[in-house]
Symmetry: C2
C-alpha cells in the first residue's frame, strides 16, 4: 500500500494510541499527529513513541492530513466534527472508532449536510482492562475484528485505504450496514453491559439484604466484570444506540418473564432444556 504523509489521531488513548503506534511501527506514515486537550498525556504519547507530534489546536492538527481517526467518546463526536470542519481539505479521509455507528453517521450528516464521501465509519472490537495512552499497544488489534459501515455514497478508495490500515495492524476487517452493526452490538455487548450494571445496582445495599457482596463467588465476579466499565462511555453508548438497545432490553425482559413463569410453575423439564441448550450453545460457540 502507499505510504501516507500525515495522519491525525483525535484522542490519543488506548484505542487511538494503539492504532497510531501500530502504523508508526509499520513505517507507513511520515508523521503521526496527535490531538487532544491534555498536554501532559500528549507529551507522554511522544515519549512512548506513539505519535510524532501533537497539537491542542485543531487547525494545526488536521490541516493537510491524509487521514483522521476519531477515537473520542461517542458523546463528543459531533462537537469534534464541527470543530474540524473548517480545516478539512477535499480528500482527507475521516474514520472513527465509535461503538455505535448510526449515531456517528447522523452526527456527520448534521455537521456536513450529508455524509461526506470520505467518511468511513468504523468500530474496532478490541479493548483492555487499562485505558489511556500508557496502555497503547500496537498488537491490540491483532486477530481482532474491525467493522466498517460505509454507505453507498462512501468513496470506495477511502474504504479500501482504511481497510488496509487496519489489516496492517493484523485486524480482520468486515463491512456491514450501520443498522446491522448497531443491532448486533446492542444484543451482544450493550445489553449484557446494561444487565451487569443493573444487577450490581439492584444488590447494592438492598434493604432486605444489606451488604451481600461478601457472599458472592467467582461466578458473580465474572458476570459483573463488565459493570466495572467506564460510566461515561456507557452513558454515551446507551444514549446513541438507544433504539437498538431498547429493543434488546425488551426482548430480554420477555425472556426473563417467560423464565420466571417456568420457575414459578415448576416446569422442570423445560427448565432443564433451556439450561442444557444454553450450556451447549455457549460451550460450542464461546468455550471457556
Amino acid at each position: 500500500m502507499k505510504s501516507l504523509n500525515k495522519i491525525t489521531i483525535i484522542g490519543v488513548g488506548l484505542i487511538g494510541g494503539s492504532f497510531a503506534k501500530g502504523l508508526k511501527d509499520a513505517g507507513l506514515v511520515k508523521t503521526v499527529m496527535g490531538f487532544g486537550q491534555d498536554e501532559s498525556s500528549l507529551r507522554k504519547a511522544i515519549e512512548l513513541g506513539v505519535i510524532d507530534e501533537f497539537s491542542t489546536d485543531m487547525q494545526t492538527a488536521v490541516v493537510d492530513s491524509d487521514l483522521i481517526l476519531l477515537a473520542v467518546p461517542l458523546g463528543v463526536m459531533e462537537a469534534v466534527l464541527e470543530e474540524m470542519k473548517p480545516y478539512l481539505r477535499q480528500g482527507t479521509i475521516i474514520t472513527d472508532a465509535g461503538s455505535a455507528k448510526s449515531s456517528v453517521i447522523t452526527s456527520a450528516i448534521k455537521v456536513f449536510g450529508q455524509l461526506p464521501e470520505f467518511f468511513v465509519p468504523g468500530h474496532p472490537i478490541a479493548g483492555k482492562e487499562k485505558s489511556g495512552v500508557t496502555a497503547a499497544d500496537p498488537a491490540l488489534y491483532l486477530k481482532h475484528r474491525v467493522i466498517l459501515t460505509p454507505t453507498e455514497h462512501t468513496n470506495a478508495d477511502a474504504v479500501q485505504l482504511v481497510t488496509e490500515l487496519w489489516q496492517v495492524l493484523g485486524a480482520n476487517v468486515e463491512v456491514m450496514s450501520a443498522e446491522q452493526h448497531d443491532d448486533i452490538f446492542a444484543a451482544t455487548s450493550h445489553l449484557p453491559h446494561l444487565l451487569a450494571f443493573s444487577l450490581v445496582d439492584l444488590l447494592n445495599e438492598h434493604p432486605e439484604l444489606g451488604n451481600v457482596f461478601p457472599y458472592t463467588a467467582g461466578g458473580f465476579r465474572d458476570f459483573t466484570r463488565i459493570a466495572s466499565s467506564d460510566a461515561t462511555m456507557w452513558r454515551d453508548i446507551a444514549l446513541t444506540n438507544s433504539t437498538a438497545i431498547v429493543k434488546w432490553l425488551k426482548n430480554y425482559q420477555a425472556s426473563i418473564a417467560a423464565l420466571t413463569e417456568l420457575v414459578e410453575t415448576q416446569q422442570g423439564e423445560q427448565l432443564f432444556k433451556l439450561f442444557e441448550d444454553a450450556k451447549s450453545t455457549r460451550d460450542r460457540h464461546i468455550g471457556h
Copy 2:
C-alpha cells in the same frame, strides 16, 4: 477436636470428595466410607486416597457412622434420606452441601416427621470448573465460606462438630437461618446464573441475527461463563429455591424496566449515575 471412627460421604464427587480427602489428610477420621452408584468412580476415589472404603449398599455405608455428608444433587436429597432412614442410629450427625437450604429442611421433615436434632443443613461456597472425584482437592474449602442453617431444635454439639470439621479444612463457617441463606443466594448466585442462561438462549440463532457469537468479545465470555454450568444442578436449584428465585427475578425485571425507560427517554444524567454507582460499588466490593 475428638477423632471420629467413621464418616460417610454420600456422593463422592468434587464437593464430597474434597471434604473426605481433607479430613483423611488431617488424620481425624479412622474410616472414610464412600457411597454412590458408580463403582468405577468409587474405586477411583480409593485409588486417589479420597476415601478408605466404599459401598453401593446404603445400610453398609451408613451403619455406625458418626457423621454423614450428603453431597448429592438437590433433586435426590429426599430420596437419599428416605433410603438411609432405616439404618440410622441415634446420634449420627447428618449434614449436607446443597445450594438451597429450606428445601433440604422440608425434605428432612417429610422423611423424618420433623427436622432431626442431629441434622445440620450446610452449604459450602466453593466450586471449580471441573467436577467429579478426580477434581477433589483437600484445599477446595480453604478460606471459603461455609454456611450452616441449623434451627432452634438442632443439637448444639452437632453444629459444633460440623463447624469444627469445616474449620479443619480451612473454611470460615457462618450460621444463619435457611430463609436468609436462600434469599442471599437467590440474589447473588441463582439470579445471575438464570440471567446468563437466558441471554445465551435469547441470542442462540435469533431469527433477526443468525449466529452472532463470532461478534462477541471478552465481556460476553465473562458474563455468560456461568451459563456453561451443569443443567441438572441448575434445574434442581431453580425448582427447590423457586420462591426466593422468583422474587429476585421479579425485582430484577423491575430494575430492567426502569433502566429501559431511562434509555428510551434519554436520561443521560441518571444513566451516568446508575453506571457510576454500579462501577464504584463493584470496584469497592469485588475488585478485578
